[in-house]
Amino acid sequence: MSDATVNTEVQTGAPEARFGDYVLLLKPRVMSLVVFTALAGLLVAPGSLSPMVGFTAILFIALGGGASGALNMWYDADIDRIMKRTKGRPVPAGKVTGGEALSIGLWLSVISVAMLGLATNWVAAGLLAFTIFFYAVIYTMWLKRATPQNIVIGGAAGAFPPMIGWAAVTGGVSIESVLMFGLIFMWTPPHFWALALFMKSDYHEAKVPMLTVTHGRKETRRQVWIYSLLLAPVALGLGLTSIGGPIYLSAAIVLNLIFVLRAYAVWRRDEATAEADSYAAEKRLFKFSLSYLFLHFGALMADAAMRAAGVWGW
């Protein structure tokens, strides 16, 4: 009894973690994108899952993504403490200890991979395990602090969910799922670098090499343009596979044309022009990139619904 009394007294002054703080460890905003893209991969795949199995698959893919977020917060607590954007996170704010974040991350990883394997198949579970490993170890622990291409590499982790959703139904990997991966993978760099051009960040204070700092803003603009040119054929190519259809192809043509034109506008500007209009072109590209991804996956699901309804085959 006396031990318990001492414990409670010691902890009274410390900031107390609420349940919501543990939820924040899982990066709910990232999880919402994971849910959406994994659901798209699952719905467009040939074959079907019962609603309960499908729900379980999406839930544990999202939880696996959350687990990698918790591991990221555990490892990055030192740099999160320095940057304004991240210093309010549960670990640097002192609400959750690093050990708790690590423990939650590891346990949720094991639970989500095991449950996805039991609910669907072990190919999907293996891909989820690799995604967690890739984000937590390859990206967070190794490359994030080592190369200005960290965004490109980190984007791969975010690109896996539709592939996992697809594997949950089919039990394998195919050209369609690889191209869905490619769509998010190629989209991430221009999306993030457009943001980096107009947001004042303090990555340099945390000694995280970001392209805008290591290679300058002019080179960042050029990279935005290059990646948007590489993105377009991947997006259009996806429309020529078995999951493409008239809705997706029409949407992809229009969306990629706009994306490339907006990226071109960003590339052709210099800093003085950008500052004069408060980075209007960069903001336009960033805002459009959000709708871009949502509309591509939305169009894929719309085509799948049309095919299921027998409106058209492809």
């Binding site: 009894m1 409670t8 107390e16 609420r18 349940f19 543990y22 309960m52 199995v53 379980t56």
Partner: protein, 65 residues
């Protein structure tokens, strides 16, 4: 020894404890729902309590055992 007095800590951690409880109940419900869904899909059922397991019974010549 049972806890007979409510400490201030119990009130402070109520939200967290309710959250953990709901998560565990949710997890149990998912495992139950998944089991029902799998059985309805025709997944094999085997009892491991002193009964022969179909999946490990050797196949005999001619098919029938």
């Amino acid at each position: 020894m049972p806890i007979t007095e409510t400490h201030e800590l119990h009130k402070r951690r109520l939200g967290r404890n309710v959250g953990v409880a709901l998560s565990l109940v949710g997890f149990a419900a998912i495992v139950f729902g998944l089991t029902i869904a799998k059985i309805q899909e025709g997944a094999s059922m085997e009892a491991f309590d002193h009964q022969p397991r179909v999946s490990v019974t050797p196949v005999t010549e001619g098919g029938d055992q």
